[in-house]
Amino acid sequence: MTWSRGNMADGEEPEKKRRRVEELAEKMAVDSGHGGNARDWDGRWNHVQKFLERPGPFTHPDFEPSTESLHFLLETCKILVIGAGGLGCELLKNLALTGFRQIHVIDMDTIDVSNLNRQFLFRSKDVGRPKADVAADFINRRIPGCNVVPYFKKIQDFDESFYRQFHIIVCGLDSIIARRWMNGMLMSLLIYEDGVLDPSSIIPLIDGGTEGFKGNARVILPGMTACIDCTLELYPPQINFPMCTIASMPRLPEHCIEYVRVLQWPKEKPFGDVPLDGDNPEHIKWVFQKSQERASEFNITGVTYRLTQGVVKRIIPAVASTNAVIAAACATEVFKIASSAYVPLNNYLVFNDVDGLYTYTFEAERKENCTACSQVPQDLKFAPSATLQDILEYLTENASLQMKSPAITATIDGKNRTLYLQTVASIEERTRPNLCKTLKELGLTDGQELAVADVTTPQTMLFKLHFTS
């Protein structure tokens, strides 16, 4: 696998020229040391220059020392950071200090008090404000010349034309669904000519994740290396308690809390017809009290306020140090790829510091029939007497698909029909009866194509239906 900066889209001439004029003007401005227009001072980029301007024995085969590299980093290279939370704050700091100035950051969340133990760009006065905005502000003020552009939005709010402008994308997300969506988006940007992948359409994706004292960092070259979906099985399954335990046979304090969250809350609607909000202390207080009552019915001990909140919000413990380590690894990879200074990580790093310090690096392999990156049409094998419900269950439960709420459409008798869609209540009601119908009854034929849309992918997935006897 060879990948170097040469493969990335070049900066535009007019842009370069504009910056040079700007820089000249700024250099002439008086620098009183109070920030303002101060850009580069003596020795500022020494730490980076040593890597970029000197030859060495471990550099990337395509590396050529020059002063151009620093210029590319400072003026041209555009990086997108997804997430301005635990990993995001660390990433922004690291990238800004390395010299990247064109940094965009997306985050749909606002700041919460519980973020402050590790998301160091935020202070208590910022609670309630959008993370992206506050993070950008802090970095731009602390690192003169850096231009972080924030977006208080969801990644799904943007389309290909937005993502296409970046040289590298780094993710510090807390959701597998979001990762898969981003993965799918970059796959959709790939251009194949006569079956050959055009390298300039590849946008490298660096992905980091942490949980307590564990973390991982990986480098994904869409279309070339293993992608998120290739290694879906590496992600731990989400803990879901069986319904019968929750409803009639609780044993652990967690079961009692789940009972209140899943069954009692919708039934009693203590605050009106509103969903349970894990961030609302009144809601949590109510759940806590009811959970204690349920627990004492069954002689179960251990229901605490902290546990209640943890279960309701599915809280994952977090510390600054793990985020710092993983973000550092990710930022190092961004630097390597942007500068071609060293061969990038190939391609997965695992970190654990529960017992000593442990890292493990390996090459995750591409999956031959990966649903996201293999370009191989996916097969669905069902008997004509199987029901649409059977297909729905397959799409959600199959380990390589793990869809959340797939919407299924098909062309039947020349017309595009929505067979089932969950995300819009009125359509869900209208199409629900289809679930019990057999594929034959629905008018589906052998070899037919089914189009499936889901939150886990920005593009509709096509499946080929094969009837079994």
Partner: protein, 516 residues
């Protein structure tokens, strides 16, 4: 920090995510700690940031340097306005700003001066972190801290190489939080209360609902009794016997009127757990070592709490425990109705509490025998008896002594010339270079070429001095001329720190731990 339903303190909210890792007592230890950082380089301030954010009690930065333009370029906690100021002071301001719960201090002095005039200055700290120290200072400081019993963490970053060295005589860990610990079920040697509880079940005369909701621990225990009768009271030992035992359980699954096995998840769980449930109850070797530790055989008034506790546990093991540790008292969740599960859980819990109070009595009498009266929480240590750990690091003096250097570790690692060990040797060589030339190799472009040769001389003299017959590739010497130079665990005594050298190679994103 009391935990109440409403009015959760602001601190509790802020630290919520980390409290779930080390608990209130861990947080308390953190807040009572005072850490010293020597040299506010980018690495140093980054380390402090990760201690200030979670709420360390206090920090003190010792640094005699003035801030340069280069410093500001790579350090998030320095700004242009700090150029020319003392680095300790400048960094303290921006680090303090991260968390008002923390008390930040600075000393505008080089560590060498402090060692000359007031070495006891360092005795007050819970931990000292030394960053980018030159070898001579590092060894001097290490000697002082070693004798004072203050843990010392040495950190160096050099280009894309990171190095950490922990030097502490003895560090005790009560809660190691192991990832995959085996359960303490005592099925091979059930205590009296457990035996009685098992007796109260009659699997052959239960209705279907009860039968399907009997905890698998009971199921295994019952079938073990059957097995004992036919196998001379011997546990199933090898794969063949365990397979036969699993079959025995499988045959116990209820069948419907057509002779087809019913769906009994609890029996499936029993079968799945046979492998681990029948492991003989024994004391892990790491704990054996602790219980038999020579150094603490005689308890005095100065003996640290951990060792008084260890001795008490030992006395329990030799007497009431009949060769076994106090019962842990927890069982995993399993398919069962609430009542059966809770009753079984309580049997284990109550036994654990009983054992813990016996251990407490041993602690009391030990303390009395040396004229001390102390009431402290021994319950936590009992629950974790199987997870006690002790980490002992060799001193830096030993590591660097020609007689005591760990030749074996170094030469065997260097069988692979690209092992992270070569980076360790390079770092030592670079120190040597600094000693000789008062600068690091390759600071200026024009020096690089010549310095490669000079650094090579340093490498060879190092290898010769220590009698190390290894080959250091020229590539690494060249690479090191291109560049021109696990605290929370120590403080909370939870989780296990590394022992004692950690090297990180960002070029390959690999790392290794060595005991040197």
């Amino acid at each position: 920090m009391a935990q109440s339903a409403a009015g959760k303190s602001n601190k509790e909210q802020k630290y919520d995510r980390q409290l779930r890792l080390w608990g209130d007592h861990g947080q308390e230890a953190l807040e009572n700690a005072h850490v010293c950082l020597i040299n506010a380089t980018a690495t140093g301030t980054e380390i402090l940031k990760n201690l200030v954010l979670p709420g360390i009690g206090a920090f003190t930065i010792v640094d005699g340097h003035k801030v340069t333009g280069e410093d500001v370029g790579n350090n998030f906690f320095l700004s242009i306005s700090s150029i020319g100021k003392n680095r300790a002071q400048a960094a303290t301001e921006l680090l303090q700003e991260l968390n008002s719960d923390v008390s930040g201090n600075f000393v505008e002095e080089s560590p060498d001066k402090l060692l000359d005039n007031d070495p006891e200055f360092f005795h007050r700290f819970s931990l000292v972190i030394g960053v980018q120290l030159i070898e001579s200072t590092c060894l001097r400081l290490a000697g002082v801290l070693w004798n004072a019993g203050v843990p010392f963490l040495v950190c160096k970053t050099y280009g894309l190489v990171g190095y950490m060295r922990l030097a502490v005589k003895e560090h005790t860990v009560v809660e190691s939080h192991p990832d995959n610990a085996l359960e303490d079920l005592r099925l091979d040697q059930p205590f009296a209360e457990l035996k009685n509880h098992i007796q109260s079940y009659d699997l052959d005369n239960m209705d279907k609902k009860d039968h399907s909701h009997t905890p698998w621990i009971i199921v295994v225990a019952k079938y073990l009794e059957k097995w004992y009768n036919e196998h001379n009271y011997q546990l199933p030992k090898n794969y063949k016997e365990k397979e036969a035992f699993r079959q025995l359980i499988r045959e116990g699954i209820l069948k419907n009127e057509n002779g087809v096995a019913e769906d009994e998840e609890n029996f499936e769980e029993a079968i799945k757990n046979v492998n681990t449930a029948l492991n003989p109850t024994k004391i892990p070797s790491t704990v054996q070592d602790i219980l038999n530790a020579e150094g603490w055989k005689n308890i005095t008034a100065q003996t640290p709490a951990f060792w008084v506790m260890a001795r008490a546990v030992k006395e329990f093991v030799e007497n009431e425990g009949e060769g076994k540790l106090p019962v842990r008292g927890t069982i995993p969740d399993m398919i069962a109705d609430s009542e059966k599960f809770i009753n079984l859980q309580n049997v284990y819990r109550e036994k654990a509490m009983q054992d813990a109070s016996v251990v407490s009595k041993h602690v009391e009498s030990l303390l009395q025998s040396v004229g001390k009266v102390c009431v402290y929480k021994s319950k936590k240590k009992c629950k974790n008896a199987a997870f006690l750990r002790v980490v002992r690091c060799r001193s830096l003096a030993d590591e660097c002594s020609v007689e005591l250097v760990n030749k074996d570790e170094i030469t065997s690692c260097m069988d692979n010339p690209d092992s992270e060990m070569v980076l360790y040797l390079m770092l030592r060589s670079v120190d040597r270079f600094f000693q000789q030339h008062s600068r690091y190799p390759g600071v200026y472009n024009y020096q690089v070429e010549e310095d490669i040769g000079k650094l090579k001389l340093c490498v060879n003299s190092l290898l010769q001095e220590y009698g190390l017959n290894v080959n250091v590739k020229d590539d690494y010497i060249h690479e090191f001329c291109r560049y021109g130079a696990n605290a929370i665990k120590m403080i909370t005594h939870q989780f296990v720190p590394f022992n004692n050298t950690f090297i990180y190679n960002a070029m390959s994103q690999t790392s290794a731990t060595f005991q040197l």
